[in-house]
Amino acid sequence: MPQAYRSVEITVNGLTYNRQVEPRRLLSDFLREDLDLRGTHVGCEHGICGACTVLMNGYTVRSCLMFAVQANGAEITTIEGLAKNGKLHPLQEAFWENHGLQCGFCTPGFLLSACELLERNPDPTEEEVRVGLSGNMCRCTGYQGIVESVLAAASKMKAQK
């Protein structure tokens, strides 16, 4: 018989959480409502806007298109997990310095997409950044500042290596 609730063990930003979830609980709602991690933003809830992007086992996923039960056993990184010991991630710094955000709603998704992009391709061209971030929408700054931020972070991160 199927169960009305399922036990899940999900590691988010290094902390392991055990919870009971309804199978229909979206991963985005699990993070926001059950774990109180409200940095993952929910825009469209149908996989268009990219605001809810998180990393699952190192790969970006749209958390509104997954059920929490499917992340059982997985490691998730949300925006709350990017800064370490009070120090911003180089991408976060670069967004700050290069006007990579205005209202900030889309920013968590952009940052996590950019994390994966730079992980796969540490030295991207502007074109590659634009293609790599094509799954995220911004409705206020436009994309210029965001693209510049990612390029700036890439050179900063390269210099630190």
């Binding site: 399922r6 199978p23 229909r24 509104c64 059920f67 039960v69 499917q70 634009r130 094509s134 799954g135």
Partner: protein
Amino acid sequence: MKPPKFDYFDPTTVEEALDLLKEYGEDAKILAGGQSLVPLLNFRLARPQVLVDINRIKDLDYVRENNGTLAIGAMTRQRTLETSEIIRSKCGLLTDAAELIGHPQIRNRGTVGGSLVHADPTAELAAIAKALDAQMKIRSSEGERTVAAKDFFVTVMTTVLEPSEMLVEVEFPALAPSAGWAFEEFVLRHGDFAVVGVTTVVTLDAKQTCTELRLAAIGVDETPFRDPEIEGLLQGQKITDSLLDELAARVSEKVDPFTDLHATAEQRKHLAGVLAKKAIKKAEEAAILNLKKES
């Protein structure tokens, strides 16, 4: 904007999944990558009583080479199309077309089998399957059958799959080392659903005469469009601009598109011809380069 209630199963073997499909029949829906199904659930456009999540079936995620063909397990992520060396070397069209499928986040979850079964009329993988005569391996608890891509797609979002059946593997032919290919799309924004797309594989002989043309178009009919007469136009011919113009005119004439908010039927007809010519030219150039590499 939240999914309705459903009974959830996450089997770890194909056999368990098939038993569930047999038991629940039309009340069950398979959940693969979820990039199309979950939006439908969130909007409550789909309200299946039972979801059979096949993401924990590890045996369906593989890429194998068998005697000149490339077998891809149904749960292989679309991202694998971009990263797999076997796919790149045996059927590079899949590698090159992968970046046209949605966005990185979509391809990390979306699966090869899921896209084919969903049968969106603008799905790139459906066009490639049709153009290359891919073979679909289908299982149910009663047995197995193989269906050619040309018979697999029935209409918009409908395939020959019965409720008790599941697509388990797709077999693509390996492309000849001297072949060239292209996938050209007209799309409003990168990663969106294509308005019209054309994929083609051109094979040339040593004299650069076309020995085979394969061509499929999406966004112009309920299922991917392919026409043997059009493909025959270049057979045994040197590819010239005037021949391509003739071919493009035939494509525009023969496709039977629909009008929606993105484009009228007339625009789609025009685009199909333009993209066919563009794709063939690009594929021909690639084939010439490959010929040079070979010799």
